[in-house]
């Protein structure tokens, strides 16, 4: 069973970017079963910017599943943004999941935006001022909902989609001082609470691509400034064979990275 997953985050669309991704997106049906968007679709989270996202990522020949990012919350228009995206056929996850029938099996995707807090041994605690407790409880609640969503899906392969990072590995390159604003170990703990095959996130523009949770789940940072291409493609499965790797587009390579 092999499922082909394309993913990108942090595309920060506005009128000045519309059209840049589209030529590459048109090639998606040849190389992927689904496109995951890891949040920060817009610059400020306005309805007008969401329409740019709908224009760029709507009407594709593969299902598109997204979570929102912190930028998508900036103008407090989340309901309007979600409606514009859903009207364009894009599935928006926040504490829930979706199961897609792919050629290689049933792909379950659970998603939350997530939040900060930091990583084991160097993280914020639910203690002290109300503001601090609210910060940490926001993350705890988000991680709890991610874990519950992951465990609830009946599928052949499970993928976790977040904006914030579940591990510090994929933050390498970011200043250590801002790690607590880039993710939380609690998201990793949620991912490890289910038989997750892959976790995809964005948010850390200066981070690196690859990491694993303490439980051994592969994590990929697909923030656009990190991957430096329209999207990354992952073939996930237990019957992979290099001969099965088909070229991507006209200029595709038959060699895998690993």
């Amino acid at each position: 069973m092999v499922i082909r997953i394309a993913a990108v985050g942090d595309v920060h669309l506005d009128e000045d970017v519309v059209g840049r991704f589209r030529p590459a997106l048109e090639e998606l049906p040849e190389c992927a079963d689904v496109l995951l968007l890891a949040g920060d679709l817009t610059r400020h989270g306005t309805e007008a910017e969401a329409r740019c996202v709908a224009e760029e990522f709507g009407g594709l020949a593969v299902p598109v599943v997204t979570v929102l990012g912190n930028h998508d919350h900036q103008c407090d228009q989340v309901p309007q943004v979600v409606k514009v995206l859903e009207d364009a056929g894009i599935t928006v996850l926040e504490g829930n999941g979706v199961v897609l029938d792919c050629a290689g099996g049933r792909l379950g995707i659970a998603g939350v935006k997530g939040f900060g807090g930091g990583f084991a041994g160097r993280c914020a605690s639910d203690f002290g001022e109300p503001e601090m407790k609210a910060f940490v409880r926001t993350t705890t609640d988000s991680a709890d909902r991610l874990g519950a969503a992951l465990r609830s899906l009946d599928c052949d392969m499970l993928v976790a989609l977040t904006h914030y990072s579940p591990v510090p590995d994929t933050l390498a390159g970011e200043p250590l001082e801002i790690y607590p604003f880039l993710g939380s170990y609690q998201l990793g703990q949620a991912i490890d609470s289910a038989p997750t095959a892959l976790a995809v996130h964005g948010h850390a523009h200066a981070g690196t691509e690859r990491g694993t949770t303490p439980g051994g789940v592969r994590v990929r940072n697909v923030a656009h400034p990190v991957i430096k291409q329209a999207y990354s493609v992952f073939h996930v499965g237990d019957q992979l064979d290099t001969d099965q790797v088909s070229p991507i587009g006209q200029s595709g390579s038959q060699r895998s990275w690993s």
Binding site: D16, A197, A206, A230, H235
Partner: protein
Amino acid sequence: MTHHRDIGAGPPDEYVEAEIQRLLVEDPAVAEQGITVVRRERALVLYGEVESPHRREEILRLVSERFPDVPVTSDIGVIRAQAPTEIEQLP
């Protein structure tokens, strides 16, 4: 954001650096969190990557408007958006 009074040679560089960083995130015309401000001997250098040439120009315009006396150079790139040429297999 705190505004500095003009005293002598102006605010210490570290505050200018902090102000530019916050300006680039908080100004609605820019909203970029991924720009790094680095102090060099002769100028402040802006590093990072943005989604369009227009955004790079906006960043430079904003910084030079707010800090007309601070020499600023830019090494901001526009992120490529081509289709991938390789895949990653995850057994």
